[in-house]
Symmetry: C2
Subunit: 398 residues, 2 copies
């Protein structure tokens, strides 16, 4: 089992502490699983206390022994209740913090109230923007894992070529690809940070199903199997001469990879083929302009303008009335990390070390949707692809 | 696609409004997916405003058209921002609410702050205990769906008999059963309400792996594939003469079913076999005592006492140091609903109409774990089983 090295954890902590000092925070207390994994190397339930200076203290409710085996942090102690935190901090010589950062975008209110009782004199602020800034720059260690995820992604893509046939349902196709991913070591779970942002592996749909909008913050929605979870594959049988979307989230050792490819049996209708080629041009434009220093919103704006010029004002990134205001998103332990290549993010800029998915997609209501998605790495000023499957639409014999 | 009938939604709303009146709440605003599905029949993103009297108003950000197709509620309107809510309420003649219930156990702090700005004069309380009380009593409509989930569960159990063989890894077995579940219409997603409570289908593990504790609030943990999601199946190959745990979450049309069965190749070691038989006795005791009016904590206490009498003080419901303080949990749209058959719940009583899983399990560190789990329905004073797979351990030829 791959364990996060101590040097990696130390680097991450140090960077967060720099941001904390800039923002005048005395401590950040981490509770959410994705952040726990990033800063401790495990997700045993408890609280990770990171002071502005000094060593982090991981207070673990369950399971302490496992936390010690999986985490390379030095200070890991058992604890029973949040009320015990101040006493534990005192034992370790940490002063009572006055300004505390919490993950206020994900922390439920009832937990927050417990923190407020535990630290009655403290002021609380949202630490998530700082945490996101640390997490958005991937280390060589992380990139190695993300390359493994991209390779898993390609194996799933190859499997799709074998499985897709006339008459198979979207759900059956999804089931086969999920099974393939799982056997390749996919943990199953795909983490999306946003409240209510449930996701399951993949968006696989075909023909008109791809054009069905959903509640999710994704360009395509899909019917799903029932209104309880109305997104993703439905029961529709796949036919000849329609676009089949395979948008899959691969995962290796907790790190994700996001890729979308288009398949068809017999032929891809000309209008969809043109749409697909146009989306590839949007991708090319992004690769040319997303260099360090360029605001996220500018990358978004220029690619959106190109799509509008191409005639997709009402169909780019979702059906009219259901379009989303982003084209790309950071990828790592969660599928919605920084950067947000999205409207309104004009004061945050592209940086070397970022890993992000870019997914220009276009919807033709009643007929379907097409688009492409790759996971990219901004490396020494150049946008490089991590996902590596062939980008030509796969046309299978009918 | 099965849509929740209008009469069903009306009943649910009426019951919540009764509780709201008892508690002096003017309104409950529902935002979380599981609750949205329960009270509206869909999960299109937005806010469902339920006044203490009158019709609920579903304000939908995305996708409004789909909300209208999937929800049988009368009043479904598009809206853009939380700031617009008071104006929308005024249009519908609803007075500005003074006491508002929100889902404070799941609602992130940043969302709460937006509600506080939207209703500057209001007092907010946690509506989740009321919502839980409504949801814990299942209607005949819900029971019909949950029976379908239990039947799906049995098909997965039958599939396990075909797939388990010497040398197959826990992960491969999980992948095959997940694939089977999916083809039977499982939505993939299993909802668990608690913060950080991520779950993926099933806990499948064998031999000593079953005794590995994890962070999750479950009696058994398992190794998982990596510390990012350290629970569930690992890479271990399944051997002869050890206990194989198949704890699966089935799902039909958004409703869950929870069942655990034990398999072995060639033989189940005598100590484990005895443990299994003892856990069945704990189940029998629960079935005899969990009648309407008995406190949840009393059911827990009496079953725990029996397990302790049997000599399992340090191994019942988890390995020593990692034991959980419950034996059963309500099941419905989420896997952690009311009732909690758990320590400390002495002021809540069993009621007709409840559906719950009961899962006495015992751990033998280094050797494995055994136990049984079924999903039950308390019907006219009698505890009846919904899950229906044979309860004898399945001993496969070696």
């Amino acid at each position: 089992m791959r364990l996060t090295p101590a040097s990696e954890l130390a680097q991450r902590c140090k960077k967060l502490q720099q941001y904390m000092t800039q923002e005048g925070l005395d401590a950040v207390i981490i509770a959410q699983n994705a952040d726990l994994f990033y800063f401790s190397g495990t997700i045993q339930s408890g609280n990770l206390y990171i002071p502005a200076q000094g060593e982090p203290l991981y207070m673990v409710r369950k399971d302490h022994g496992r936390a010690r085996r999986e985490s390379a942090l030095q200070e890991i102690i058992p604890f029973g209740s949040m009320r015990d935190i101040p006493a534990r901090l005192a034992e370790y010589g940490y002063p009572t913090p006055g300004r505390i950062g919490l993950e206020l975008d994900v922390l439920p209110v009832n937990f927050y109230e417990r923190f407020r009782k535990t630290f009655p004199g403290a002021a609380f602020t949202d630490a998530t923007p700082l945490i996101r800034r640390v997490r958005m720059i991937k280390s060589p260690y992380e990139l190695e894992i993300m390359r493994a995820a991209a390779n898993q992604q390609d194996a799933i893509f190859q499997r799709a070529k074998e499985v897709i046939r006339e008459g198979i349902s979207e759900l059956e196709l999804a089931a086969e690809l999920e099974c393939c991913a799982r056997k390749l070591g996919h943990q199953g779970l795909i983490r999306m940070r946003g409240f209510n942002s449930e996701l399951f592996y993949a968006h696989i749909f075909s023909g008109p199903d791809s054009a069905i909008p959903a509640y999710a913050d994704t360009p395509l929605g899909g019917p799903g199997l029932n209104p309880s979870f109305g997104q993703g594959p439905g029961h529709k049988a796949i036919s000849r001469d329609e676009a089949i979307i395979v948008d899959f989230g691969a995962c290796a050792d907790g790190y994700l990879s996001d890729q979308t490819r288009v398949f068809a049996i017999n032929s891809l209708p000309a209008r969809l083929r043109k749409g697909y080629d146009d989306m590839r041009k949007v991708q090319e434009r992004m690769m040319a302009i997303a260099t360090p220093g360029v605001p996220w919103g500018a990358v978004y704006g220029e690619c959106l303008s190109l799509a509008i010029e191409m005639g997709y004002a009402d169909s780019f990134m979702g059906a009219a009335g259901s379009q989303v205001s982003f084209i790309g998103h950071g990828v790592g332990i969660e599928i919605d990390e920084y950067p947000f290549i999205a409207r309104g993010f004009d004061d945050m800029a592209m940086e070397n070390g970022m890993v992000f998915a870019f997914e220009p997609k276009v919807v033709f209501p009643g007929q379907g949707a097409v688009g492409i998605e790759n996971t990219f790495h901004l490396d020494q000023g150049v946008v490089k692809q991590l996902t590596c499957s062939s980008e030509e639409p796969v046309i299978l014999a009918g």
